[in-house]
């Protein structure tokens, strides 16, 4: 019974349809983010948010239709590892940007001089 269900979900024609859907939706998302940027459809800040969302959408589409992450059977170790890595990636990227932006705005040379003058010292 169990193997039957597994085979049905892995049937070649069904999978071909999946690949085709994933391919066309990905092309559509790629082209729309490309046209948003080249034709200056939106204001700068909105455009950045929209193309980020389109990229995340394409990421999810490819994970579902190409990497088949969500039709795994019951002990979903792949999904677990994936979620763990996703959290590490987010901490790494957002954390780096956050810390380095803070550093560059607080540790610039003019600000350091101002700080030292406030302390009554100077160079």
């Amino acid at each position: 019974m169990k193997t039957n269900v597994y085979q049905a979900s892995n049937h070649p024609t069904g999978q071909f349809k999946n690949y085709l859907i994933g391919y066309f939706v990905s092309i559509l998302l790629t082209l729309s983010s490309f046209f948003i940027v080249t034709n200056h459809v939106l204001t700068l800040n909105t455009a950045v948010y929209v193309i980020s969302l389109l990229a995340i959408g394409q990421f999810i589409i490819q994970i579902v239709f190409f990497l088949h992450l969500f039709n795994e059977r019951s002990p979903r170790y792949r999904l677990l590892v994936f979620l763990l890595m996703l959290s590490i990636v987010l901490i790494l990227v957002i954390g780096s940007i956050w810390i380095m932006t803070n550093l560059s705005s607080n540790m610039s040379i003019p600000k350091q001089i101002q700080y030292m003058n406030n302390q009554g010292g100077g160079f």
Binding site: P12, Q15, Y19, S26, T30, F34, V37, F59, R78, V81
Partner: protein, 211 residues
């Protein structure tokens, strides 16, 4: 007697089922191990993305992104890689139906698409170096070349891998080991396309919008 027979049958079925389960679980373990490797590769790319995000404004008198990126070329690269990801899926499907000719055709198309992607990318790199915008110029260019170059290195490894796959298929046919190799390779290639989505968006599209 009949109960004995029944017991024997049950025993027999469960034993063969057990063997089947065992062999599929070994197969799934191997591809799971490769999946974990891909996830660590994801962390490698994430750290390179973080470096790029931190350094991309430090142009140090050199050019910024919008001065050197040609979006049309990058769009062609993106479509090539996306199509090659699709044909990798088709390769796996023809592997499942065991039609050798289709496997070769699909693998060859994937190879050609990957190769043309790599050629376009190397062309872009050599053009940048020839006009004096190499990785030595600024933090922005260093991080750009490292991030995009690491992806290109993965692509070239994938191209070599495809040649080995075709050779193995020619030698040993549709054995268990070959199906495993092809499955693992398709994971790798789809993964590279996923990474490229973010390079396309973060490096090229956002680079052109001057952020």
């Amino acid at each position: 007697m009949s109960t004995q027979n029944q017991q024997f049958d049950i025993h027999h079925v469960s034993l063969s089922e057990l063997r089947k389960e065992e062999s599929t679980s070994i197969f799934e373990n191997v591809s799971f191990g490769f999946f974990v490797y891909l996830m660590t590769d994801l962390v490698l790319f994430a750290s390179l993305f973080a470096v790029y995000a931190v350094l991309h404004k430090n142009t140090a008198g050199g050019p910024a992104g919008y001065q050197i990126f040609n979006l049309n070329t990058v769009l062609v690269e993106t479509l090539l890689l996306l199509t090659s990801s699709f044909t990798t899926g088709l390769t796996i499907l023809s592997l499942k139906t065991k039609t050798k000719k289709n496997v070769y055709i699909n693998l060859f198309i994937t190879f050609l698409l990957g190769l043309s992607f790599l050629v376009i990318e190397l062309n872009e790199f050599s053009h940048l170096v020839s006009i004096g915008d190499s990785w030595r110029v600024s933090g922005f260019l260093s991080s750009f070349f490292t991030l995009v170059g690491t992806h290109g290195l993965h692509i070239s490894i994938g191209l070599i891998w495809m040649i080995i796959l075709a050779y193995r298929l020619h030698k040993t046919g549709f054995g268990r080991a070959n199906i495993r190799r092809f499955t693992i390779f398709s994971l790798f290639w789809h993964f590279l396309d996923v990474i490229w989505i973010f390079i396309f968006t973060v490096v090229y599209l956002m680079g052109v919008t001057r952020l």
